[in-house]
């Protein structure tokens, strides 16, 4: 659940049925009923995470919102173009087929020495002081670094004897040359197997995980798989997960959950290409710092505590079996480096894949709008980064009728500035069940432009429409009436009254946005804009100096730029200045997989990036407060935004529930 068991989100509400009948609540003890109305409490609702069972009770778990997968990847995924001309020898994985002289009573050399002897002779691998291997290797192996020669694990030695004999002394070895340290023997296969060489790029997002299966012979992405991070069930944002990880075996649980998601995606990708996951010999992994900690099973506790320190920004490479990643047990897992608790490997990888710091580039703002909000400002000579703690409001958390961008979510809204009536478009074209991030931005902008809310976000209760009203949580605006929603399918599931679906999505209720919701969204957008301002000001520039804005992250792709400018979330710049890059994190991991030079570039970007800790910045609070208006206290920053009309006229559909998707 969104808050990870802190009693804040109200999503885990259940009904203690027996207590309702007997009006005897002695068998449960409620520690907190925050997020429940007096009516809810009277109806027997409790927050599961805040309730102690002290006797026999009958509990009804109301139907939960069914998460339908609507991620961009999958069958519809477009072929990923090679980001640069690919050369097999730019990356570190190698396969060699060697035929050994069989052992005899005259030559009783042990299996491992026999193999190593041949690898030294032919490829100069494994010798203690390697000479230049480029000369010795017709395939262009680079000089192995390190003084230890070829490294090998017990795991590989355990299979060695069988492989040599099964292959009748002809085997194919898989070696990771590893830029740092000695080359490492990953696998020994009987016979010749030079036809394939597989690896994966992984992006571990707080919300969704992405796996790209890469054919290192051609360099091409051969399968793309994505799914929600299994950890979502333990909290929607990184803070909730860190808290969960610090309790009992929470860390282990989270590690298993993300591994289960990734391993499922890996299996799906492998099946699509008819290979075994054991044939995947390397993984490059990007993700925010908390996700990388949890992936590797490292306690993330200090990330959320002042002064916000990670255990490790750059993990050493390790074999897949150490964390249970379902590829070849000895495959190298290379987690890309992050730079701070809230600017992780997803951002260093994102910056590299965005090419914002390639040579001769203009001043660029890179924004990753995910569950967190990270911003990087710079050019090819310097980079400044911050995390603006926008929170998950734009992902539907902390908003009464907020939801993720799945079927039933309102993703675009239009408000008539004369009648104040709303029309909207719903994902999947079905009856609406709530509002997703892009829908919330759209709604905020339309309400502001139509005059439903003022500069401070206050709802005008005097408007001549029933849509504005005093609700249970204060003033609210009705986006969709209850009768616009179809409750039939829920009613089919069980003979329960409307109250019992209270804890699920808002089916059967009016879908509203409340004053509290608006305040949360204002804070989120203000945090992002304040981040922009402070980055620019801290280097003596203004946002007017920025030449272009690159928007990464899956969510970023759905943002309506004009509306985001209208609420003052994005700076007021021409539409052409904005570029949507999609998932820059997985693309950066993919590039690092294809080229050791790119991999090195990620490290360099991390090193050249300066992290600005906003919570330590005196001006942050001022900038934040200045941005707590629509679009901003300083209207000169948003010259194209005015009440009664947007920057560019919005195309308005006919007044009907849209089914055009």
């Amino acid at each position: 659940m969104p808050c990870g068991g802190q009693g804040r989100c109200g999503r885990c509400a259940v009904i203690v049925e027996e207590s309702v009948e007997t009006q005897d609540f002695a068998s449960v003890r409620r520690r907190s009923t925050q997020r429940l109305s007096p009516d809810d409490v009277a109806a027997g609702y409790v927050l599961a995470c805040q309730t102690v069972v002290e006797g026999d009770v009958v509990v009804l778990v109301p139907p939960q919102e069914k998460i339908e997968r609507r991620l961009k990847e999958g069958k519809r995924a477009a072929k990923v173009a090679l980001p640069f001309p690919y050369d097999l020898h730019d990356q570190t994985l190698r396969k060699y087929t060697v035929t050994l002289e069989p052992p005899s009573l005259e030559d009783q050399t042990d299996d491992w020495s026999r193999l190593r002897r041949e690898l030294v002779r032919r490829y100069d691998l494994g010798s203690a002081s390697p000479a230049d291997a480029d000369a010795a290797d017709p395939k262009g192996v680079r000089k192995p670094l390190g003084s230890e020669g070829l490294r090998v694990s017990l795991h590989v030695l355990r299979n060695l004897g069988n492989a040599l004999r099964e292959g009748d002394w002809t085997v194919t070895v898989v070696v990771d040359l590893q830029a740092q340290g000695s080359p490492r023997l990953i696998d020994v296969l009987p016979g010749e197997h030079l036809e394939s060489l597989w690896a994966i790029a992984i992006d571990i997002g707080t919300t969704s995980n992405h796996v790209w299966l890469v054919d290192l012979i051609s360099g091409e992405v051969m399968a793309q798989k994505a799914d929600y991070n299994g950890q979502i069930a333990r909290g929607e944002d990184v803070i909730s997960r860190i808290i969960y990880a610090s309790k009992g075996d929470g860390l282990e649980d989270l590690q298993h959950l993300v591994m289960r998601t990734l391993n499922r995606l890996i299996k799906q990708a492998a099946r699509e290409r008819s290979i075994s996951p054991d044939e995947i010999y390397k993984a490059v992994v990007a993700g925010n710092s908390t996700m990388i900690h949890l992936f590797a099973g490292i306690p993330p506790a200090s990330i959320r505590l002042m002064p916000f320190i990670t255990a490790v920004n750059q993990l050493p490479p390790f074999p897949a079996q150490e964390i249970g990643l379902g590829i070849n047990p000895e495959a190298t897992v290379d987690c890309l480096p992050g730079i701070a608790s809230y600017v992780g490997a997803d951002i260093t990888a994102g910056v590299v894949s965005s090419r914002m710091c390639d040579e001769n580039q203009e001043l660029t703002l890179f924004v990753d709008v995910g569950t967190n909000g990270e911003i990087v400002l710079g050019d090819c000579t310097w980079l400044l980064a911050c995390a603006c703690s926008a929170g998950p409001a734009f992902e539907g958390a902390g908003v009464v009728h907020g939801m993720r961008a799945t079927a039933g979510a309102i993703e675009e809204v239009w408000v008539n500035s004369e009648t104040y009536e709303a029309t909207y478009r719903v994902i999947g074209g079905e009856a609406p069940r709530g509002l997703c991030g892009s829908g919330l931005i759209s709604l905020m902008a339309e309400m502001f432009v139509a005059g439903v809310i003022d500069k401070s976000g206050n709802i005008d209760l005097d408007l001549p429409t029933e849509r504005v009203r005093q609700g249970e949580h204060g003033p609210e605006y009705v986006v969709a009436w209850a009768d616009e929603a179809d409750i039939a399918d829920i009613a089919d599931i069980a003979d329960i009254d409307r109250a019992s679906v209270r804890a699920s999505a808002a089916i059967g209720e009016d879908i509203v946005i409340t004053a509290v919701d608006i305040d949360n969204l204002m804070r989120a957008k203000a945090a992002i804009y304040a981040g922009f301002s402070i980055l620019a000001r801290s280097v003596g520039l203004t946002l007017a100096d920025v030449g272009r804005v690159l928007i990464g992250g899956a969510f970023g792709q759905y943002i309506n730029v004009e509306k985001a400018i209208q609420i003052g979330m994005l700076p007021d710049m021409p539409y052409e200045s904005f570029h949507f890059l999609g998932n820059t994190s997985v693309r950066g991991a993919y590039m690092a997989l294809l080229s050791e030079r790119m991999r090195q570039r990620v490290t360099e970007v991390g090193q050249m990036m300066t992290y600005l800790e906003l919570s330590a910045d005196n001006t942050f609070f001022d900038e934040f407060n200045a941005a707590m208006f629509l679009p901003h206290t300083d209207e000169t920053l948003f010259p194209t935004v005015r009440r009664g009309g947007g920057q560019i006229p919005n195309p308005k559909p006919q007044t009907s529930v849209g089914n055009d998707k």
Copy 2:
């Protein structure tokens, strides 16, 4: 059981009771009754390992020989003297206590970089290009080798954050400088813990395992523990174990069994010194090649198949947790190098600890008389080694009344050359139950000198004594009459007749040595002597050129040299030329633990040692046949041995069953 389920040793005989009553043997199918007499078969005996149960049966398992521990180590163990002046800095384990600058909003460096930064600053550990650390380190750390800087595992990184905060930014780090490769961070402990530094030396014998707990501050052995190798239950010699390892999950089973034995010994040793096994940060391991393979979980199959190849002679160091060794999970496990399938790390370590190849030494013969028989000939300039496949006859296997050197074993015999009566000494002073190795050597020699057997080992059935007779398995000599054994305690256990204890030790039977037993022992001693001869001849020398004989191995300590010479097992040299060194293998591991120079010496010894494969040597069969006489075909080789008297007069006790032990 000794043969590991091959139907050769007869030790697993059980009685199918129901079949005895009904005389219907349809419910069991006997694949082999080798080792069972017709009487045994009629009595319902089957070999458990060779019998398929095909219906309901009632099986009686006769009481088995109870193995009593009589290993030399334990409470009676003498304090081990330091083998050379000890210098803490000659070995590779280090502890450093460092205090870090706590993190702040101004310095958000991650925990791992913060620790590494301080280690680089103070000890030059972990830097990518280490300078000379001796200058920087007051404690004399040597220059870290390798280009990778300080290596660290996920395991250590997982505990790092807690340790730093628990210790309030003062921690003690444990580092293995590792002569080969980069230094490795093993542990991070909160606070200062410089008071101790523990490690262990391990010897994995086919029969017994030894663990020495070493205090690396003083270099002293602080506890010695030994026990039978838990694998004995799966076969007594390496061949049986290799066969067992190749079936089903036999390898895993054997690996677990030896680990269980070692971990028990480690716990005992740690408890004796009131430390936790987690405080043990390094293990140096010696053992024969099969034992090392099984310890590391590497299939040993090719060791017993022509042309006898190991998977690996020198394992890379690995962390203890990879094989489940119960010391600190990240502790370095360093398995010493062997040189061939049948000349393993026990011999390289043994040679180093015997100092046979130190400077200015005379020609030396080193013999390790264990379950195998390995021989090394050489001096400080060359070493020649062979394994003579003596087999386990001297350890009691393949001999009808053979047993291990435990309570009830006859360990010394005297045969009166006029009456042919035997007197003997029994381990523990109890009633005799069988003959152990030293007892068998003693018995053979006495029978030969007294004229009970001739040069070829044939028993003289015409002697005027009831002790020589035609038995079930041919001619035999009675060492102890049945009434000299006390069967009361066995009779107490169950109301069973004499036949039912047939499969256990020979309680209640006459203890005899048969013509077949004598043949087996002749083969064993001939193999050892042939090994001596061939080693010497292959370098153009004779045994007369040998200056001294060093005898290693626990069993070696119990050999009566004169009697071993009388049967032609050891060369005929003055008593002063023989030196009993005890367990040279564990001592070699201990020396390698104390000094990196000694550790390197083990590798050098392995490299300078030439392995002679006896089965590929044309002269082996001739030498073996020549040694199949008592003492030898060529009597000139044994000038001091003559029928009617030994080399040196044997001290003979009064004619009584000895209870003097």
